[in-house]
Symmetry: none
Subunit: 248 residues, 2 copies
């Protein structure tokens, strides 16, 4: 899916931004970069430095003179727009765009263009009207102009999230390889804890004040692993010994 | 909600990145920026140029010497991590983090820190272990190192999306009335815990075997309330007394 998504930059004037876009794209698994009438050189010290290892995208870049040429083979072109224009156009949020991408990318020959405008003035009305839809990244109303590479970063991230949602949903939640303690193991811990707390004069069963209930709630909330319960019991045994309490 | 979210940058070495972070934050409506031991000047031509109109954030920035200081008043600290480490920690995707934010930001006094590491090496294990959870931005496995401002951009965007989702959905029923412990309160507990474990001969700092890391992970996962931390510290004081260890 990601190989069917093209980033198109129109009239970019800072090589550093092109480099930043290349890095953002490669980070998110996109590789198809097209420039329309750039107002700067593509391969400069600045662009290569900002690309930070993604400069093969700068070498592969295709440069066009018009937007039409850059998106000629595309089945969907979406223009990044700061705000709705005089003539309202279908407007998507980045997330709505992401929701549509899997279906849009599916057909044989599908090719999606995400089109970004100039650093200073964005896309013209004529350019926006060549797009099927517009996408607006929600921003602070008082400070709405995103850096070009930052705007590409946000949309590329949404593309990747949409792709990952497709790929199956492998252990994004991962982590929990460790075995959880059983109910019985946890109960043995609570019994041991209560005896020790009595022995060190912290807990008076005649005046319980919900102490054990509060400790239960805390530890159960954490869903302890077996290894963790072993550590906690080890601490209790060391406490018993240090306090000179009878061996259990 | 957004005013309760702090961006913390540790050991940043390029002023331009700090400027880029300020712009990304202001674009998304975040304003609380803290630096820990920066390895460069904050106000330079480069940082001001990259901030591109958001340089008031650079003037307001607070500079700390340690992470603890920067997040002392925080009720939740989430560290940006490139990958899971030797000891797995609760790991969130940016979207899972966003899903949790409205509830996390709701309580009186809530303060959330999103912590980002050095450009070259990220966060250390010790720094990651001071966080309740880690967040991993999904990236191309072959090219996983995001530019710092780009990483902040993605998480700030998810924060804004979460906030926008809230703005028109009526406030859900209050989650939890009890007050969470602050980062500083939890750190004081861990310091006390470590001293006590050494005194009762359970812990040998010369052979730590990840003991403190495992205990940190357990307790941080439970998101302790202030009252619970008070109980746990009371237990440690009673242990110290029963074991005949010096009063702290």
């Amino acid at each position: 899916m990601l190989e069917r998504i093209r980033i198109v930059l129109i009239g970019t004037s800072h090589p550093g931004n092109i480099g930043g876009v290349a890095r953002a794209m490669h980070n998110m698994g996109l590789a198809d970069l097209a420039l329309v009438a750039p107002r700067c050189e593509v391969l400069t010290q600045d662009s290569i430095s900002r690309a930070s290892g993604a400069d093969h995208l700068l070498h592969q870049v295709r440069v066009h003179t018009t937007l039409e040429e850059a998106v000629a083979d595309c089945t969907l072109a979406v223009g990044a727009s700061a705000r709705s224009r005089t003539l309202p156009w279908p407007m998507l949020s980045p997330r709505e765009l992401a929701d549509r991408l899997p279906a849009e990318c599916k057909p044989e020959g599908a090719r999606i263009a995400l089109v970004f405008g100039r650093e200073d003035s964005g896309l013209t009305n004529a350019e926006l009207q060549r797009c099927h839809a517009h996408v607006h990244i929600p921003t602070n109303a008082d400070f709405s102009s995103l850096n070009l590479a930052a705007a590409v970063q946000v949309l590329a991230y949404e593309c990747r999230m949409a792709w990952l949602g497709q790929v199956d949903t492998p252990p994004a939640a991962a982590v929990d390889e460790e075995e959880l303690a059983t109910h019985a193991e946890i109960e043995h811990y609570f019994e041991h804890l209560e005896r020790t707390l009595i022995d060190i004069d912290f807990h008076d069963p005649a005046q319980p004040r919900q102490l054990m209930a509060r400790l239960r709630r805390l530890y159960l909330r954490a869903r302890p692993e077996r290894m963790e319960i072993n550590i906690l019991r080890g601490i209790l045994s060391a406490t018993d010994k240090a306090a000179g309490n009878p061996r259990r």
